[in-house]
Subunit: 187 residues, 2 copies
DNA sequence: GCCGCAGGTCAACAACTGTTTACATGAGGG
DNA sequence: CCCTCATGTAAACAGTTGTTGACCTGCGGC
């Protein structure tokens, strides 16, 4: 049963509200009072439960990318498959995906930038190494990051309409780019 | 001769200082007092000359991309040429290039995002139309924007070291991507 | 020499920030 | 039943923010 006083539920609602607000306005613009109001709780609880705005932010952007299983995907289709996966995940959009939060906040928040670097090293690079078996996985992962983050930036930060970047065009054109960054010989 | 009281010089120093500070810290984190201190002037002058922080920002991020003349570049080399141009421009780095300011601030500042969209419509898209003569210039311009902004984001916001993204790898791999976004058939 | 006024200073303002402190409340074990 | 302590509240704090209005300052024309 739902208790009137439930610490865990309050924490969860704060994290959810924080994600939404940070995503909409970035770290600096978002105030703890806004987050608390959106969560329907008292602002002081942010300090009680998380120890401050910074620590709540860190909690709100903890993320696992959970790549699709590519082991059965034909080599030639991996690029397209990756793009489709990201597309589905982002545009399925409950609107507060953490990666979107990060892209927006990393720009002015070192903690956020460090998080993205962690994802690059800890999740994208291993995925590339696994999928390609090639050396230079680091370089390839960075190239892929430029394209995927750029796509996310244009779509969600600049908020270009679908007509400017039709999903099928993106899947095809960007998918092939990823494919090349994965497998094409590097200079 | 340099006057002790020179309104134009003061304005210029304020804009320059604003660019540097906004670039380093983004719009929200930067205070008018910091900008004034960096410019060596009184904070009140920001309001006198620009009418507020927002308006100073708008002035600081006014930008002309000034593309290279591509009319004599062989069709097959345009992608590479563009990337080299941006690279030279960004990394030549007096450290306060306006496009870098914009990328960092647009994330949480609608005015900034609108500026980038203006550049896309007013400068990148016409350049694409001119260079390719193709229809679908808009789509191609957006695709190019994803790659170029993503590259800038990874290099300057995430601040990955040169060893992760060696310039020659970028020129080649990303150059070819731009080339494809310019000329390859779209689905 | 003096005066007007563009150019620059100074201190204060009101609003808002994250955080802390002291206090209320009510569910659940004894 | 009542006492306790996790949970939640309210108010205040100290600092910072962008902005403003009243006030100097000194160059250029008379």
């Amino acid at each position: 049963m739902a208790l009137a006083k439930d610490a865990q539920a309050t924490r969860d609602r704060l994290v959810a509200a924080a994600r939404a607000e940070f995503s909409r306005q970035g770290f600096e613009r978002t105030t703890v009072r806004e987050i608390a109001a959106a969560a329907g709780v008292n602002p002081a609880l942010i300090n009680r439960y998380f120890g401050g705005k910074e620590r709540l932010f860190a909690e709100a952007v903890a993320i696992e990318i959970d790549f699709p299983d590519l082991s059965r995907t034909p080599r030639g289709d991996i690029g397209r498959a990756l793009i489709r996966h990201f597309f589905a995940r982002w545009d399925g959009g409950d609107g507060d995906d953490v990666l979107r939060v990060l892209i927006g906040t990393a720009a002015t928040n070192d903690e956020g930038a460090a998080r993205i670097r962690d994802i690059l090293s800890g999740q994208i690079e291993p995925m590339v190494a696994r999928a390609t078996g090639s050396d230079r996985a680091r370089e390839r992962a960075c190239l892929i990051a430029t394209q995927i983050l750029g796509l996310a930036y244009v779509r969600y930060v600049l908020a270009l309409p679908d007509t400017d970047l039709p999903p099928e065009t993106v899947s095809e054109a960007v998918g092939e780019t990823i494919q090349r960054y994965l497998f094409a010989p590097l200079p």
